[in-house]
Symmetry: C2
Subunit: 475 residues, 2 copies
């Protein structure tokens, strides 16, 4: 097991009273087994290889998404779980159509192409495309400033960048994504004919990043097409507009919103031996955007979640509580799978005590965010020393994952958690054509799976503080 | 400055007594300035772009290495430091020559090429190449087991892999690298005609990884050529030998060891305003292997170290002590630069109190390793809370960097430190053709530079406990 391991046991042993030593030693040994199994005989990377390279991007309602449903169900069935099933859910279907195209024209015949892609949910441009002058804004609040007078008939160019000074890149994302999600809806109110949004990317490059947008209750006839532009071309366009405010942009989108179609959440379960009624969920989302193969977002979370149950079986751990892997459909453009799972759980009166989502990329895990009350969090924090040998240091309150959030009804009930991998490279790939298999590192993916399994193991063993239950065996 | 920053100030404020608040607030503000400057107006990535893409691999004694000396000296001169100079050092010169070539032959005419590269310091094969049967071993200790009888006239194939279960990948490296460094010297004693070593790589791929080796005092006539083979081809060869133990390997190396040549450490200094005699060093090594462009090893460390001094000036911090950036020559195959710097420091009676090296890749920084006594380490650990907002959690005793190590003569004198970035991907690139610029992420590099600058700032402000000094202003 090596020197490091022995040192860890020694370290842990002095941090707990004697009566607890046996339990801590057992936990320490079991975590070591989990990590060893994931790093030496892991399956997550092979599964991801198939999802990414044999299937590819898995947009809700697509054939690829259906293939992913069937593949993951079949793989879960091979694991010898107690149950594997599909949970039906109707999902929106949006198709990109033929590749998008755009250029900037400074004078007739003088054009330069720019790299764009339709935002998910956008309408197409008219058949001949949309061509208009451009007004650059730094956010939705600027629209009021310029007013209908300056906006009507133009393309609104949202160009507020992600803040590079924020260490948590998801915070930087949160500070910009309203431009993408609501930019078209808001610009339409001022008579804009289209919107182009700077890609949510911290890096300067040529890749446009898609993502969901919504027209809200905008009447169909008032909806305008919306596209993302690469960060390099956003800089180019901004610079050009300073020199020539009359420059026009032409863009052509061929996307289409269809009727909802039948799809599924994929679910597998190891039924608890002592408290089968207490359910712990571990999951990621099976759908992805269509530009890349969705390896980081969220193929990684899918295969890591499947690996949690496999590792439990491989180390011969028999959970006291029920562990469910849920591969949610349609996180990206609807959250129908997450909502459906919570809805069915409520209908059936199921008691979910814990849900962990991995949906922040397959990078080196740093820890977890929790949506929990103080007592619950204190209990979880007491497990931190067990994770230190694996360089897992981050246990923070606040945040979990979009698909598991609907399971929480009130403070103090279910504890939600989200794996927090290193986030510095995540938005280089997020929703773009380079979210692909070769950008996922095998060890980093496996470390994440082992880290998730370790947390689930501890929750299973010690329970979580609930308003109506008392955890047993707590340190 | 944002919510996060305010929360940090609040958090830090309650962790220290009131009299310390002003100082902690000032430090917290200064760290925030350092990180902001590095992430928003950093120079490290541009410098690395030049070193990697305009100059390229910088093997000691090569023209590229000399170009790197001149470029970094010129860039340091632009920063307005108090002094910039070159420190002469004679370095070994080894050239790879024409590309290596190897194949496995199972019967005459039935061959398959394998990916190899010469190890740094190896002799060439004879003009016609070396062809022989192969004996696979799991390490140097196996040689005794097989004895001269089974080894003489054969190529020894060292195939012990890096252990994937070790979380610290440098530990896994340390567990294998004797095969590369001493494998030829030891195999020659048993009459082997060459050695082939499995690349020090945790990933399965086709790239051979070079690195230094030594013949020790083996007489010239007994020296045998040594090459690394890719992990994929190591697996292939091992599998093949199980089926056909008479299979032969042919390999041809064209490398050559030349006379030592003149080279330089590049040094720049901001002279301390209060204690100019107390010197802090920050550095990386300017030389690299020749297969890639040396972006991670150690272009990253070079530009981060340069950035430390630039950031100090940009935030208008006037150090009390002297800060020197030292870009060491010849870490890879001789350590002449590190030894020379320490030798000259001793001759001049210079008092070095602290030395920090970055030589573990340009990945997201996790913290530092320190070579310090207990009291020194306790002082440094008291600074940990200042780093938490930047997700820097790892402060551990043990280890620093090869180039700064010669500065330490006895326990309790100079404190040595090494930046510890995330190490999971490092050996995918280490000493291989894919140690290139596109595998360095701008933000990760910049976070490392800011983390180093922050530590140097704190050491400057509070000093380090020394046998013959007492640090002032300690929390």
């Amino acid at each position: 097991m090596g020197r490091l391991f022995i040192a860890v046991i020694a370290l842990l042993s002095v941090q707990f009273s004697n009566s607890q030593v046996t339990s801590v030693q057992e936990d320490s040994l079991n975590l070591r087994k989990i990590y060893d199994m994931s790093l030496m005989q892991g399956k997550s990377y092979d599964w991801l290889d198939h999802l990414s390279n044999e299937i590819g991007g898995r947009l809700s309602g697509s054939l690829n998404a259906q293939q992913a449903v069937e593949y993951t169900k079949a793989e879960l069935e091979k694991l010898g779980l107690d149950k594997v099933w599909l949970q039906p859910v109707m999902v929106p279907k949006w198709t990109r159509g033929a590749r998008e195209f755009a250029y900037v024209e400074t004078e007739p015949g003088t054009t330069r192409n720019i790299n764009i892609c339709a935002l998910g949910g956008s309408i197409a441009t008219p058949d001949g495309g949309t061509k208009a002058e451009v007004i650059e804004v730094q956010g939705i609040e600027d629209l009021k400033l310029y007013g209908k007078e300056q906006i009507e008939g133009k393309i609104v160019f949202y160009n507020r960048p992600m803040r590079p000074d924020l260490i948590h890149t998801f915070e930087a994302y949160g500070g910009c994504v309203d431009q993408r999600y609501s930019g078209a809806k808001e610009a339409a109110k001022y008579g804009a004919v289209g919107v182009i949004v700077r890609s949510m990317n911290l890096r300067q490059d040529d890749l446009p990043h898609t993502g969901s947008m919504s027209y809200g209750d905008t009447p169909v006839e008032n909806r305008i097409p919306a596209a993302a532009v690469s960060t390099n071309d956003a800089e180019y366009l901004s610079g050009l507009l300073k020199l020539d405010k009359d420059a026009e942009v032409y863009f052509k989108l061929n996307c289409e919103q269809h009727e909802d179609v039948q799809s599924y959440n994929v679910i597998g379960e190891i039924t608890g031996s002592e408290h089968p009624e207490e359910i712990m969920v571990v999951g990621g989302h099976l759908d992805s955007w269509d530009l890349g193969d969705g390896s980081h977002d969220d193929g990684a979370g899918v295969v890591q979640s499947m690996e949690v149950l496999r590792l439990m079986k491989e180390i011969n751990y028999k959970p006291k509580r029920t562990i469910r892997v849920v591969l949610f459909m349609n996180e990206e453009n609807g959250l129908r799978g997450g909502n459906k799972y919570a809805e069915v759980a409520k209908e059936k009166g199921e008691k979910h005590i814990f849900a962990l989502e991995s949906d922040a990329g397959g990078f080196t895990p740093r820890g977890f965010a929790f949506d929990a009350d103080k007592a619950q969090f204190a209990q979880i924090e007491s497990w931190k020393p067990l994770f230190e040998p694996y360089l897992i240091h981050y246990f923070e309150l606040g945040g979990s994952g979009a698909d598991v959030r609907p399971l929480k009804e009130k403070e103090g009930d279910i504890v939600l958690a989200g794996l927090r991998p290193d986030s510095q490279r995540y938005f280089d790939h997020h929703h773009a054509a380079n979210d692909t298999f070769e950008h996922v590192n095998k060890r980093e993916l496996e470390l994440g799976a082992a880290t998730m399994t370790s947390l689930i193991y501890l929750v299973d063993k010690y329970g979580v503080r609930q308003i109506d239950t008392t955890p047993e065996d707590k340190y």
